[in-house]
Structure formats: C-alpha cells, structure tokens
C-alpha cells in the first residue's frame, strides 16, 4: 500500500527530505518509522518522538490504512 510520510525539524534534516511516498506491505506507525530509519541512515529512533496520522496525534501501534498521511515529529520543544 502507499503511505505519504512527512518529516519535521530534526527528522527532516536526518531524512534529507520533508516528505516522500512509500510503497510498502503495511503495518503500524512504529513499523513504518523503522522501515524509514533503515533507508535513511541518519534517521534514528527517538524515545520521545511523536507520530500523527492524518493530522491527529496517534499512538505508535496505530495500524495504518491505505493513503494515510503519517507525520513523524522529533521531541518537541515549544515555549
């Protein structure tokens, strides 16, 4: 299935791009991150990272559907 992935801040620099579309077998948000980390050597799993699916904050074990847009957020630092 196809999933659109977007990276922000530190993750964008580590991935070397702001977004990409992935054709993969499907799974959870955590599995998608692991797949992306394998293809972008600088992109590392971060304990405090957050994930959003279709502009809603989501859990890492969320099972993704076809055409979902997944946003990977490095640890936030507002304020």
């Amino acid at each position: 299935m196809k999933t659109r992935v977007r990276y922000f801040a530190l993750f964008r620099e580590q991935a070397g791009c702001g977004s990409e579309t992935v054709d993969w077998s499907g799974g959870t948000a955590a599995e998608l991150f692991a797949l992306m980390a394998a293809s972008h050597p600088l992109l590392k799993t971060q304990a405090a990272a957050l994930v959003a699916v279709n502009d809603e904050m989501s859990a890492w074990d969320t099972v993704l559907s076809d055409d979902d847009e997944v946003l990977f957020f490095p640890p936030v630092a507002g304020g």
Binding site: F8, A9, L10, E13, K44, T45, Q46, A47, A48, A49, L50, A52, D55, E56, M57, L71, F73, P74, P75, V76, A77, G78, G79
Partner: protein
Amino acid sequence: MSFSVSTSAIDVAAARQAVADPHCGAFVAFEGWVRNHNEGQAVERLEYEVYRPLAEKEGARIIAEARTRFAISHALCIHREGLLELGDIAVIVCVSAAHRGAAFDACRYIIDAVKTRLPIWKKEHYLNGVSEWVNCEQCAAAGHAHGHQHE
C-alpha cells in the same frame, strides 16, 4: 481565538486586554523569553518551526482543558514562529479568573502542556556559528536515550 501562532512580535497589551472581564479579580500571565544561554552555550538567536494545522488544534484543546479543570473566565496563548532575537517573547499565556488560585493553576497547566504536546521545535543558533535543534525537556525525561547529542 484561544490559541494562535504568530509570525510577528506578540502585542502584550492586546493579549492582556483580550482576557479582561469585570467579573474577574485575578489576572495571571506567563511570558517565555529568548535567553542568551542554554546548557553552557552562548545563544545568538532562536528559530521556531511550527506545524500549524496540528499545533492550532492541539493548542485549542489545551485551552479548553484548562477551562474545564479550573474555575477561570478566559485564557489565551500565543506562540511565535520563525526567527527570534534575544529578549523577544517566544510565548505568552494570559488567564483571568474570579480568584487568583485558579488563574495561577491554569496558567501553569497551559504553559506546561504547550511545551510538551504541541508540534513546535526550537533551533538554537549559537555565537560560535553552530546551530542545533533543542529537545532538552524530553531529553531529560528520556535520559538522552535517543540519537540527539549536545555539541
């Protein structure tokens, strides 16, 4: 709008006025300022990246939670986006209430949630020319378990 993101300087007087209410006997505000140092590094300026669609939605949710949890009348929060200089206001929270206790509690609740829940990232530009994404609060919680390193 109870939560908003601004690309220009925050108007403190206008923010204060926005929560003014004759029913209120208490006003509490928090301003986050750009300071000149962090973890031993001399900071020259800051850059905030904001993912607006989610920041605005989650920000409004935080304000709504504060209104439910505490006996307050009005609350607002404005967060800056883009390049900021030393001394600039990065974030402001304004709360008005009948009594001070709820106003203090709600103000603290809002700023703490804003720092940990909104998709906002801070890049520090140091005097020595290096720049780095900051995630120190979460770093501390994670015990630096992730890949980020301080130079």
